[in-house]
Amino acid sequence: MRSNLIVLTVAFGYLALLFLIAAWADRRAAQGRSLIGSPTVYALSIAVYCTAWTFYGSVGRAASHGPSFLLIYLGPTLAMLVAPLLIRKMVRIARAQRITSIADFISARYGKRGGLGALVAAIALLGITPYIALQLKAITLGHAILTTYPTLPADTLAASPFWTDKSFWVALVLAVFIILFGTRQLDASERHEGMVAAIAVESLVKLVAFLAVGLFTTFMLYSGPSALFSRVAAQPSLAGVLSLDNVPGGQGGWLGMLVLATLAFVTLPRQFQVLVVENVDEAHLSRASWLFPLYLLLINLFVIPIALAGLLLGDAALDPDSFVLTVPLAAGLETLPLVVFIGGLSAATGMVIVETIALSTMVSNHLVMPLLLRLAHRRPARYKDTVLAGWLLGIRRIAIVLILMLGYLYHALIGETYSLVTIGLVSFAAAAQFAPAMLLGLYWRGATHAGAVVALSLGIATWAYTLLLPGFARSGWLDDTWVNEGLAGLAWLRPYALFGLEGWDIYTHALFWSLLFNLGALIGVSLFTRQSPLERTQAALFTGALQPGLWSRAVTGQGQTTQGELYQLLTRYLGLAAATRIFAQADASTQTSAHARPASPSLVARSERALAGALGTASARVLMDSVVRGETLDREDILSLLDATSQALEYSRRLEQKSHELEETSQALRAANARLRELDRLKDEFVAMVSHELRTPLTSIRAFAEILHDADTLPEAQRQRFLDVIVHESQRLSRLIDEILDLARLESGRMTLHPRRLDLVELVRRSTETIQRVLAERGVTLELDLPDVPTPVSGDPDRLEQVIINLVDNASKFAAPEHPRVRLALATTDRHVRLLVEDNGPGIAMEARELVFEKFHRLENTSLNVPPHGRPRGTGLGLPISRGIVAHLGGRLWVDDAPTLGGACLLMELPLAPDEASTT
């Protein structure tokens, strides 16, 4: 079962089967009945992440470095958790701009410059070649172990020529295979449905194969996990194998590896290919976000049992990286090892296929095409009539062969000295250098082209210095003294302890420094450089990619060219069929007669997109520039559109705010205006009232004065009576004027009071003495009810006296006509003193109790307020003035029910003055 022939037959048979699957899937796709339109297939295609490195290396890493092997899968789990946010954005962009690879993506983000794309492509080539080498090594090694076990596989490469080396032939066979179904169509942005279907099948095969070994090891070799673990318990040397102490770099190394795996998962060219370029439907992302981690969990489930079983075998198990094969082989099985070999083959070929396609696209679109275009530009005559469409596929095919040969070379020359995991991690660290430019570029509009170039260069240089070159040195390729003693003998330049940073594992160390320089340069340089207009547009489109409706707005350009020129360009680079199809889609005529017509903006946009799909965005840009005059596809207008939209939003927000403020202001103004009007009306009314009040006494005065003037003979008594009226009305007039002035002063706040400490009881006595004569004339009895002790208040004595007299005078006017009585009482509470003046008149109706404090209230035609006949009428200003004075002194004046006499009752409340002791 393990003869070379059988193994080779099975292997080639398997590859042939894959090819059939791929061909079938491609045909189905052409018929419009896609096989891969499901999230499960999408998740399985992402599982191309699990390479031979996983298949053989996980067990190896578990055996030597404990649980750290899991980090390579926990990282992607973290990344997939946010895939519906992050990857979705990338998918949206890639679809809208026909992105073909990660190099294309990064170059498009930073203004579609050829140089940046070339840099990314070169880094990918440099960083990923070892990874391809790793797969070749795995296949060769697997084959060797399978056919030679239990003897150690011979040192295959040492001296023999390459044509006897199986990995060389493996590489060549794979190259043919990849060319066959990787370059079937020109448009690299079109999905490779056949490839994806084949990859999905391979993912299933490797999972089944691995689970088969795992189940065999756990349940057949040992009768269940407990049996296995009890065997381990018997081996004290194995006790620490799964602990954190066994992890290189300890907790720091743990975290570094987790970050590395997370970043590499989205930046490895093949992962970008399957995650973004080959994505059929954004919606698949949410389901894949747990299906793929589940796949990872399953494929790792038996890693530890196999590793432990291998360790228990001792020397018979050979290298830990081959435990997966040697454990069943040592048990004497024949078929299972073959299945395992096929599983490993699946893992390795899946990776090589996707990676090579991704790399070859980058190489052709970003390294070779720009050179060709430049050449064609420089010597237009020579390349005038060359149809470059055919060239493209040729370039890509040559690139595939070259990449695989490069991988083979790496494997042949250096690979022997590395374990699987080591090579893989070196590649991971290289791919991680794309993360800052790519991820930050997705969220930070300010990241510039210059920043990205410097960042990538610095990052990859640090990576090479701290990881790649020391690796070369360790394998004997370079002199290794500089590794141990530092470049030029400078200890702080030691590649594994840069700037004296020691105690970390080499990957975390390299990742830390390279990402630090990378990210630092991206941010730092971006902050000091400017973006070109196109770059600004692209930055805006990338960062705003998830904005609804963005891409539909971003299609029209304003460049000018003729249909003929465009048609020629497309025919030259994409072939006649593609050109005709694109014109048909844009409803443009391909007739020669229409060639002079100007191309519509949508035709221009469509052409650029089609070219980008085949050649990459940067080259497409160069080509379009060659035929489109003026501001080609002026993306500036998209930028301004975007900016305008956000500005318009901002403006409208501010406008809304302003109009809101304006509304408030105008409301306040309206209120103020209404109040002013009201005040104006009140003022007019007051003036009218004052005028009326002044006219009344004046009328009597003038009338009697004239009567006295005209009548020479008037009885003395009558003359005297008339003169009395004049005097009386004059007094009334002057009193009125005084009160009006008082009121005006009170209302304008200009009344000056001179408050001082005084005894209210004494003041009441003095005031009532003053008014006693008037009261006696009216026949009014005044009862005083005063405390015996002094009641200190703070007030202006003259003004307070005025208030008291007014209150008593008022009460005496409205007291009952028969036996009029007025009572004045003083009572103190804790902090106040209350002065009460009541009469036995008709009282004041409840609803009129506040009205009496209005100016000239007595004018109101309520007979209740008219004093009984024979008593003088007031001015109607006494109470308003009194209230104003009391308020000025910090007190209150109001109408209440009369407690004893049943008529009107006015109450004045004043705060008691503080104790004399405390004031002095």
Binding site: V232, A233, Q251, L255, E282, W290, P293, L297, R609
Partner: protein, 84 residues
């Protein structure tokens, strides 16, 4: 609006996963078993990992009703624009 909540939940879950998979939490489980002498850490990692996957699946089943439909139609119209 529901999309924003899903986003927040996704991010919260990712942060939870990051915490569970990182020191110092993992250090808490790096205790040798009394019987085999092997560390409990791998078992813990598998359990936490499985838990996170289950939570994500549950979250996605809640999202899918609201989110997948519009996103599907969106994609279709997008395709239609490209391919027509």
């Amino acid at each position: 609006m529901s999309g924003r909540r899903h986003t927040a939940r996704r991010i919260a879950l990712a942060i939870l996963a990051l915490l569970l998979f990182s020191p110092p939490v993992i250090g808490l489980f790096d205790i040798p078993s009394a019987i085999t002498g092997l560390s409990w850490l791998p078992l813990y990692l598998f359990c936490a990992w499985g838990g996170i996957i289950a939570l994500t699946a549950w979250l996605q089943s809640r999202e899918s009703v609201l989110q997948e439909m519009p996103s599907l139609t969106e994609t279709r119209s997008d395709d239609a624009r490209h391919e027509k």
